[in-house]
């Protein structure tokens, strides 16, 4: 008897479980109605493109007259040919160099400058002045890259650009310097433009973290006669350490996906050897030359490297600091 019930039980339990699921499902029908349409939405626009990764292992032909089924499934598989082509392409290494160079410069500058500025803002004791300075420093974040690129080009221009005017007034240069036409300046200009646009915005999180530091710590330090610099070093910076680590991990994960807007908008024919980045390269081959498979292979390379970087940064920091984002 007992054995029989024992045998029957899993099935019954399964039934009961599924009937309970459907009962709750009906009870929560409004919740499902409010979420499932968007889940399908996300599936179509975020998950279906992942299927597109198969294109990287095919020789994809658009075939505009064929049926959808044929366009998706009747493609020629070529294994890793696209990747082989990618890794033997000299242009690819040039593009990779540019991407990594601008990423690292952006990572370091975009990481250090906001921390320094946040620390300085935190030391401003005049609340009104601090608030005005903050409001102004957030401003460029809300302006599009098109506008920022326009402003940067204008400021660096040889006819009456502010930077050239200033440098000539200071007597550092005798005649206007063509910043935008020099290859060696391009990486620096992109990094500086990024710093100009995002520094203020990136201080928000650090300032919030600093606001959470107990004022008693500062008072105790003052009693002990610690100078302001020492207070920053021993109280403020340790107080925002976990914020720093989390943001660093996240930005390492985005190292190769630096986007392409800045490079697209700031570059010109004279500096293209230093301006081409992976995303632009994929765009150029994939869409402008209709070589979809090759373009996708570049995208796949980009995504895979990004994920590897994210996980290894997370792992390394977990070991060193016992802090992680996952």
């Amino acid at each position: 008897m007992e054995a029989v019930t024992g045998k029957k039980e899993p099935k019954e339990r399964g039934n009961r479980k599924s009937s309970r699921f459907w009962r709750t499902f009906l009870q929560q029908k409004y919740l499902y109605m409010m979420s499932l349409p968007f889940v399908i939405w996300v599936f179509v626009f975020s998950y279906v493109p992942l299927w597109g990764w198969t294109m990287a292992f095919q020789k994809y032909k658009p075939m505009p007259t064929a049926s959808l089924w044929d366009r998706v499934f009747d493609q020629k598989w070529v294994g890793f040919d696209q990747f082989q082509r990618l890794f033997t392409d000299d242009q690819f290494y040039l593009v990779l160099r540019n991407t990594l160079a601008m990423s690292f410069m952006g990572l370091i500058a975009g990481f250090v400058v906001p921390i320094v500025f946040a620390v300085l803002l935190n030391e401003v004791k005049n609340i009104a002045f601090k608030r005005v300075a903050q409001t102004i420093s957030y401003l460029p974040h809300f302006v599009s890259w098109v506008v920022v690129a326009g402003i940067v080009i204008k400021m660096l221009s040889t006819d009456n650009g502010a930077v050239n005017d200033l440098l000539m007034w200071l007597g550092i240069i005798d005649e206007p310097y063509q910043f935008m036409a020099k290859e060696k300046w391009f990486w620096g200009i992109v990094t500086a433009a990024d710093v100009w646009k995002e520094t203020g915005w990136n201080t928000i999180i650090y300032l919030a973290a600093m606001a959470g530091i107990s004022s008693e710590l500062y008072e105790a330090a003052r009693v002990d006669g610690a100078s302001r610099l020492r207070q920053i070093w021993h109280i403020t910076l340790p107080g925002i350490r976990s914020t720093i680590v989390i943001l660093l991990i996240m930005s390492i994960g985005h190292l190769v996906s630096i986007g392409f807007e800045k490079q697209f908008l700031l570059s010109n024919n004279l500096v293209s050897d230093y301006a081409q980045v992976l995303d632009l390269y994929a765009l150029q081959y994939g869409l402008q030359m209709s070589n979809f498979s090759y373009g996708t292979a570049i995208n796949v390379f980009n995504s895979v490297v990004g994920i590897i970087l994210l996980f290894s940064a997370n792992g390394i920091f977990k070991k060193i600091t016992k802090e992680s984002i996952m």
């Binding site: 996300v42 030391e123 401003v124 326009g150």
Partner: protein, 301 residues
């Protein structure tokens, strides 16, 4: 009390430190503001006079001519309309979808909660890439339509999670009492939760609106052949690219003629201001909200 004691005991080094702090912050403020003021001054200055140089932050020969000229260009007017339309539609759709999803995820008893959370979170780390998305949009016949601006990016996991973490802080008892009064889940969302989540919604609305207003790449990628769907940012981008790089994918005769009557530099400056000003008017009023939203998002990681 603390300022008083500081004034008495502050060593010289700390006073020097204060001077340095203020000097650096003031310099950052100047470096941030000057370019905007410079562009504004140039856009309001007579274009032949501008060529002489020396304009800093105020116009030397004031004129509205540059603005009159750019607003006589039909492409720009059309771009203005589409930019406003996509900002309104995109913001509303984005708010509605993110807040609905966020509400269902904030309900501890919702059985789809775990699956949907993970399903959404994954999209923040993996993406199919530009080429695959392009082919998808093409297959869906969305190219050359207005919808390509607002539909593909409608549901954003980041926005959902920010609103969710705000909704988690709303006392659950409120929902339970509404339920006792016979309200269904949708009514609770609409009547109880949404009004209380206003600060989070304001933050997300700002992010969405700014994102929509600032987009140019989707126009370039999907709608470059549909002049009736042009956007303000895209028009500015074309004007800027037309002379800087000289690789001219800009062949609009109407605009070239317009630019001949005043200098192209002045036209660029005026369009830059037209594109930027709406944002300047909106964001200081919403600053309180977006700082809140940013820190909320950061805490959740």
């Amino acid at each position: 009390m603390s300022t008083k004691s500081k004034r008495i005991s502050a060593p010289i080094s700390d006073r020097i430190f204060d001077v340095v702090v203020y000097a650096v912050v003031i310099m950052v403020v100047i470096v941030t503001l000057y370019p905007f003021l410079n562009v504004l001054a140039l856009s309001l200055n007579d274009s032949t006079d501008s060529v002489r140089g020396g304009i800093s932050i105020y116009p030397r020969e004031f004129t509205w001519k540059n603005y009159e000229v750019i607003f006589s260009f039909s492409g720009l007017i059309q771009g203005f309309k589409i930019s406003i339309l996509r900002t309104i539609v995109g913001t509303l759709l984005g708010l509605l979808s993110a807040s609905m999803l966020a509400y269902t995820l904030s309900r501890p008893d919702f059985q789809g909660r775990r699956f949907i959370s993970i399903f959404l979170a994954l999209t923040m780390y993996v993406s199919g890439g530009m080429i695959a998305s392009y082919i998808l949009i093409k297959e869906l016949h969305m190219m050359g339509t207005f919808w390509v601006y607002v539909l593909p990016g409608m549901v954003s996991a980041f926005n959902v999670f920010i609103i969710r973490s705000f909704m988690d802080g709303i006392p659950y008892a409120l929902q339970e009492s509404a339920k006792l009064d016979g309200a269904n889940d949708f009514t609770i969302y609409w009547r109880v939760i949404l009004p209380m989540a206003k600060p989070a919604l304001a933050t997300i609305a700002l992010f969405l609106a700014v994102g929509q207003w600032n987009s140019w790449f989707d126009t370039w990628l999907y709608n470059a052949r549909s002049p009736e769907l042009t956007t303000l940012q895209y028009e500015l981008m074309k004007v800027l690219q037309s002379t800087t790089s000289g690789n001219g994918d800009y062949r609009n005769t109407n605009m070239t003629q317009v630019m001949a009557s005043v200098s192209p530099e002045s036209v660029k400056m005026a369009i830059t201001i037209v594109v930027t000003v709406p944002i300047l008017f909106v964001y200081p009023f919403l600053q309180r909200y977006f700082v809140q939203g940013m820190t909320l998002g950061a805490v959740k990681g």
